[in-house]
């Protein structure tokens, strides 16, 4: 294999680059990168490109492996990777979905202007932090029995509707209406159920957050209006996933698949890429369990939404005209799903693995809510703490060129230890507060790890997907309150 450098890429456009399958003998398909030259060059510093090449060795891949501009080194797949496999001849890889199954983000729109909310921001931050369980080792006050958890896994966000924590509109504005069909709780280990019972309705730690934002700039007024987003008004983002429940499901199946690759004669360059044929008993069991994890995560974000809404009412009722929060959209960025996509000009069903990448369906695609049909699905791109976040929409080109996928965030450039060496949590807190952001954080070292300088410039990431035509700008958000576990 040649050394990985810019020379190995064929330039398709200013924002698209490709590595031919001739580059390494075990590659089955090309790898395509959506990135500016600068972001691509920066990615040469870690192992994300090598990991994308490794992902292109999976059996039964169709089309090309795609990598988004927020790519960075993960384990097995790179973060920012999208791969499609054939449902009959292809495989499913738990590592291509990740441990935090259906880690995702949702955006809520408010009819509250900045001047209205400004006097109450401190109190709102404190109460959000108090009412929404977050942080390392913090459990939920909602304790489900095993049978209740199994039901929640089958219903996803619909479980929240059944118990009064969600509206019909919330479900309509969630990817897959908040419930993947085919979840099978019988395929979960006792241990996964044990971890899941105490963690539903919790944010967790690391890069998970609740953020109250200001709509700072509007690029597509029609789409913004449709989503209920208005300049100088506020919005709320919630970023979390399936917690220990999803981690345990992935751990169980990555372990179970280690011998399975020998059984099915699959050779891989990295043990973390382990996979099994989709139609095999191992593949079917994983799909049943993984969908439980995905539904748990949809429900988890919905339950946190209920707490956020309750907090807005407690703090703002009687002080602002309308304190209600409307769900704009909820989407997954670590998931495996069957979708129909164009492959060499033919529409066919494929098993999409998205690992640190979001669905970005274009106008008139199946599966997006009626009110967004002509504008395309909202694509939520949270930035790093203290920087912009973006709302985009999927495009016709994303359906044709990226399996209806786009970027999921800023993407790290600095390791956590380097961030802690270079940034003091207390200094960062002061700096962010000086710029007008209310921060509530579980720990100062944890805050330092998430410093803005540890991430790529999210604006550059967005310019890349927009430049490539796979997403369109709608609004830019800036943070007012950040709650971190």
């Amino acid at each position: 294999m040649s050394k990985i450098s810019l020379n190995i890429f064929k330039r398709i456009s200013d924002f698209e680059w490709e590595i031919s399958p001739d580059f390494r003998s075990d590659m089955r398909v090309p790898v395509r990168f959506f990135a500016s030259r600068r972001l691509l060059e920066e990615s040469l510093d870690d192992k994300s490109i090598e990991q994308a090449i490794n992902a292109s060795t999976l059996p039964g891949l169709v089309g090309t492996v795609m990598v988004m501009p927020d790519m960075h080194q993960g384990y097995g797949f790179p973060i920012g990777g999208v791969a499609a496999t054939d449902p009959v001849d292809g495989v499913i890889s738990p590592g291509g979905i990740g441990y935090d199954i259906n880690c995702g983000v949702r955006l809520l729109a408010a009819r509250i202007s900045l001047p209205e909310v400004e006097p109450w921001l401190k109190g709102l931050a404190t109460m959000l932090n108090q009412n929404c369980p977050s942080g390392v080792g913090v459990g939920s006050d909602l304790r489900l029995s095993e049978s209740q958890l199994a039901e929640a896994c089958m219903l996803g966000a619909r479980w929240a509707k059944k118990h009064g924590y969600a509206t019909e509109a919330d479900l309509r504005h969630t990817e897959e209406n908040g419930c993947l069909r085919g979840a099978n709780p019988e395929k979960l280990s006792k241990r996964a159920l044990q971890r899941g019972r105490s963690q539903l309705g919790t944010l967790g730690a690391g890069n998970h957050f609740i953020e109250v934002d200001l709509v700072a700039e509007v690029f597509d007024p029609e789409a913004a209006q449709r989503m209920g987003l208005q300049k100088a008004y506020i919005a709320v983002q919630i970023h979390t996933g399936s917690r220990g429940f999803g981690h345990q499901i992935c751990t169980d199946y990555v372990r179970r698949f280690q011998p399975a690759i020998h059984k099915y004669g699959i050779k891989l360059p990295d043990k973390q890429l382990v996979c099994a044929p989709i139609e095999s008993p191992e593949g079917q069991d994983y799909l049943g369990a993984m969908r439980c994890g995905a539904n748990f995560a949809f429900l988890n974000r919905q339950l946190i939404t209920d707490r956020v809404r309750m907090t807005f009412e407690d703090v703002l009722a009687g002080k602002v005209d309308d304190w209600h929060l409307k769900l704009v959209y909820d989407l997954a960025h670590n998931i495996g799903k069957f979708e129909k996509h164009l492959v060499h000009g033919e529409k066919r069903e494929v098993c999409i693995h998205r690992k640190g990448a979001t669905r970005a369906f274009g106008p008139y695609s199946e599966g997006i809510p009626e009110e967004y049909a002509d504008i395309g699905q909202p694509v939520l791109v949270p930035g790093s703490m203290g920087t912009s976040s973006w709302v985009l929409t999927g495009t016709k080109a994303s359906m044709e060129r990226s399996f209806g996928s786009s970027c999921h965030g800023a993407g790290r450039v600095m390791s956590r230890s380097q961030a802690k060496r270079e940034v003091w949590g207390e200094d960062l807190l002061k700096r962010l507060e000086k710029s007008g952001i209310e921060i509530r954080a579980g720990s100062m070292p944890g805050l330092a790890e998430e410093a803005p300088e540890a991430y790529k410039d999210v604006d550059q990431v967005v310019e890349s997907v927009v430049g490539a035509g796979i997403a369109k700008k709608v609004v830019r958000l800036t943070p007012l309150i950040v709650i971190k576990g």
Binding site: D100, V136, M414
Partner: protein
């Protein structure tokens, strides 16, 4: 180089730990201690705990991942930390008698121990590996 130890190595998004030891059991112990150090565990020294872990025999890499994932589970669910280990090889299992403490708090959550490029390499001084943790 001392005959056993661990050090955190660079990883963009997650955590990676290089571990070395003269033999496999010491490598397991050093991996556990290194992982706990990265997590930042505060123990309650007056609350002793014991546990016997039974792992199926498999390749060294699989035993290493199984062992650490068990410790992650015991930390998260039972709030237990272990730093004394006695290994007993049985016919199809490895039994590990463990002693430690109840945990007061910890700073970082580890989602899982991965198999990413995991290989236990034999060096003239013993064994060495690099473990990647999803956090």
């Amino acid at each position: 180089m001392v005959d056993h130890g661990y050090e955190e190595v660079k990883h963009t998004a997650d955590l990676a730990l290089r571990v070395w030891a003269a033999d496999f059991h010491t490598l397991l112990i050093q991996s556990a201690l290194g992982m706990y150090a990265m997590i930042g565990v505060q123990q309650q020294k007056d609350q002793l705990v014991t546990h016997v872990l039974r792992l199926q025999k498999a390749s060294r890499e699989v035993i290493l991942v199984d062992f650490l994932n068990e410790l992650v589970f015991l930390l998260e669910e039972e709030h237990q930390f272990y730093d004394h280990f006695i290994f007993n090889d049985e016919e199809t299992m490895v039994a590990i008698e463990m002693k430690g403490y109840q945990v007061a708090s910890y700073n970082r959550q580890i989602k899982a121990v991965t198999f990413h490029n995991l290989e236990i390499i034999e060096r003239p001084q013993g064994l060495e590996t690099t473990i990647t943790f999803d956090i």
